[in-house]
């Protein structure tokens, strides 16, 4: 697959995962949304906070789909295009 195809697949998957976090479909994930996942994921609250802080690039307390997708791409070993 081409770079663009991979990018599209990653974005689609990231969107699906983002929607798991953004249950209210606000368009962003807050720390409160993240803490709700403690019942569903095998992570401790402080680990979820750590994940949130590392994905929240601009540190504004809101995790956007773009930030989430970038973090997901990084997890997959992809570098974001300059």
């Amino acid at each position: 697959p081409s770079h663009d195809e991979i990018k599209t697949i990653v974005e689609q998957k990231a969107r699906e995962l983002f929607m798991v976090c953004d249950v209210e479909q606000k368009g962003f994930v807050s720390k409160r949304d993240m803490q709700r996942l403690v019942d569903e994921l095998p992570l401790m609250p402080d680990q979820l906070e750590e994940v949130f802080d590392s994905l929240d690039d601009d540190k504004n307390g809101y995790l956007t789909l773009e930030e989430f997708t970038e973090g997901f791409g990084g997890f997959l070993g992809l570098k974001s295009a300059p």
Binding site: K13, E16, L17, V20, C21, E40, L41, P42, L43, Q47, L48, E50, V51, S54, L55, G71, F72, G74, F75
Partner: protein, 31 residues
């Protein structure tokens, strides 16, 4: 290197995304 930003929590991030992926695949009905 715990002092280097982004490197200390790579394992936690990987755990987070892996868990989300498993959860998503469990919850998603087959097409």
């Amino acid at each position: 290197d715990p002092g280097k930003p982004g490197s200390a929590n790579e394992g936690v991030l990987a755990n987070f995304f892996n868990s989300l992926l498993s959860k998503k695949s469990v919850n998603s009905p087959a097409p």
